[in-house]
Amino acid sequence: MIKVENLTKRYAGHTAIRDLSFEVGQGEIMGFLGPNGAGKTTTMRILAGFMPATSGRASIAGFDVFEQSLQARSRLGYMPENVPLYSDMRVTEYLDYRAALKGVPHRRVSERVGDVKDLCGLRDVERKLVGALSKGYRQRVGLADALLNEPDLLILDEPTIGLDPNQIRQVRELIKNLGKQHTILLSTHILPEVEMTCSRVIIINKGRIEACDTPDNLLGQIRQAGGVIVEAKTGTDNGAEELRKISGVRDVTVNREDDWEVFRLRVESGLDVREEIFKLAAARHWALRELSQRRATLEDVFVEITHSDQIGLG
């Protein structure tokens, strides 16, 4: 559905993306991750036909986004970051206007506008001015707009930014449902969201692709695949060293909370060392109040891959 080859975009003074190549297949939900300024929005804007690349090619449904821009754009639903809208129009009026722009056949406009309003939960505000809507509703108007022409491909730039947790959940559900009929490319900072919705993930950093795989594979790949948290009262100072001797434990850090010590263990992936820890604690007569394993998340993957410029985040 999307094919990107050696895409490079240079602005005056700096390179936003370099030599990007990836493909998104029919029906996939592709998550697009990266720190701020990594080039996500630039890539999406190029795909949406808003600006041309400096070099390289990109096509949507077989149409080059620059040479055959109109055809490519008419197969696309794009929701820009922060959803700029005409604040002086009413919701229905705006959607009618957008439907006409997108070439929805005249007799189908009211049907399509009705459908997207139902889908995005806009019935309550359909007569309101766009400028008077809350952030959440504006976001939904943007999404409704993107869906108007029943596009093959949806490109959503941070669809859940600025939403409250309930709204995020609603939008996530919506995207998941949309994924059944549409190909979706979405960028976001909310990583649990990606884990839950996306079938594949691209992580870009400083304009380059650092990883491109399914969330599960990415989780399997990282070194710090997981960890164990132990809270114990050891009464000695060498608790950490004792724990480090357990095979499979790579690293231990200690924090003190009153009389208790909190150990964070980094463990080789695929190993469960909790039983060993329990035996150790029992043998040394340590008091235990927590012994839990933390599964690696996409957040760990993200931090590990993009670590170099996340100073002070460790």
């Binding site: 602005y11 808003f50 005409y86 206007y97 722009l101």
Partner: protein, 251 residues
């Protein structure tokens, strides 16, 4: 065509949804109303060799209001979209750049025409009350309003061009105000500089809005200004189109 129509309707509605439209309307009708009143009272005092219509369209009041309205009408056209970012959803919809440029131009043109329609009432009232014609002939009405359209087209296209250059509405307004004022006074240069060649004088004469309006409001239709304004409008709109496309490379 349907996309163009949708864009055009949105532009025209955009005017009437914003307070600027009403401010411009009120300002404009006040100044032209005052103009009309003064011309009529002035002509009441002594016999005049010209009609009310001619006086109305050739007064300082008229030109003052005339030059001022274009920046106000056109400054928001592109600048606002750049500033608010609405250019992004607009240009990622399957519409052509040319459709957008023309829709914006004609949207402004429709508003401009709407601005002038109420002034017809002045002449109607005059005729009702005095039982005298306000113009020398019917052709004078056609001529002066036709000239208004031609001049309007040209100056609106200049305003469009100014607006496409910047994301700041104030800057757009200042650019178009300066450009329109310069173009307007270009026609007067021939009366100021005495040492210009006759060819130069003729060339400058083409820019003389005052002279053209003078001719047309007497009901004399000259084809030279018609061709001049239409082709200048086309030229400036072409420039606007090019500048609009260039945004892709400047981003």
């Amino acid at each position: 065509m349907r996309k163009f129509w949708a864009l055009l309707v949105r532009e025209v509605r955009g005017y009437f949804h914003s307070p600027i439209a009403y401010i411009v309307l009120v300002f404009f009708l006040l100044v032209t109303g005052a103009d009309f009143y003064f011309q009529v009272s002035f002509m009441n005092q002594r016999p005049a060799s010209y009609s009310v219509l001619e006086a109305f369209f050739n007064s300082v009041f008229f030109w003052f209001a005339f030059v001022l309205i274009f920046p106000l009408i056109t400054m928001r056209l592109f600048s606002e979209e750049f500033k608010l970012g609405t250019i992004e959803p607009l240009m990622t919809a399957p519409v052509r750049d040319l459709q957008v440029v023309l829709a914006k131009f004609f949207g402004a043109f429709v508003f401009y025409i709407a601005l002038w329609i109420p002034t017809l009432i002045y002449f109607w009232i005059f005729q009702k009350i005095t039982n005298q014609p306000a113009a020398g002939s019917a052709g004078a009405y056609w001529g002066s309003y036709f000239m208004l359209l031609l001049l309007g087209m040209f100056y609106l296209s200049v305003g469009c061009f100014a607006s496409v250059l910047t994301r700041n509405q104030i800057v757009a307004a200042i650019i178009s105000f300066c450009a329109i004022t310069l173009l307007f006074f270009l026609g007067l240069v021939q009366f100021v500089l005495l040492e210009v060649s006759s060819g130069m004088r003729d060339a400058l004469g083409y820019f003389s809005a005052i002279e053209h309006m003078g001719t047309f409001s007497r009901g004399i239709i000259d084809t030279r200004p018609i061709v001049f304004y239409l082709s200048m409008t086309a030229l400036v709109l072409t420039l606007t189109y090019q500048a609009f496309q260039s945004r892709k490379w400047r981003l």
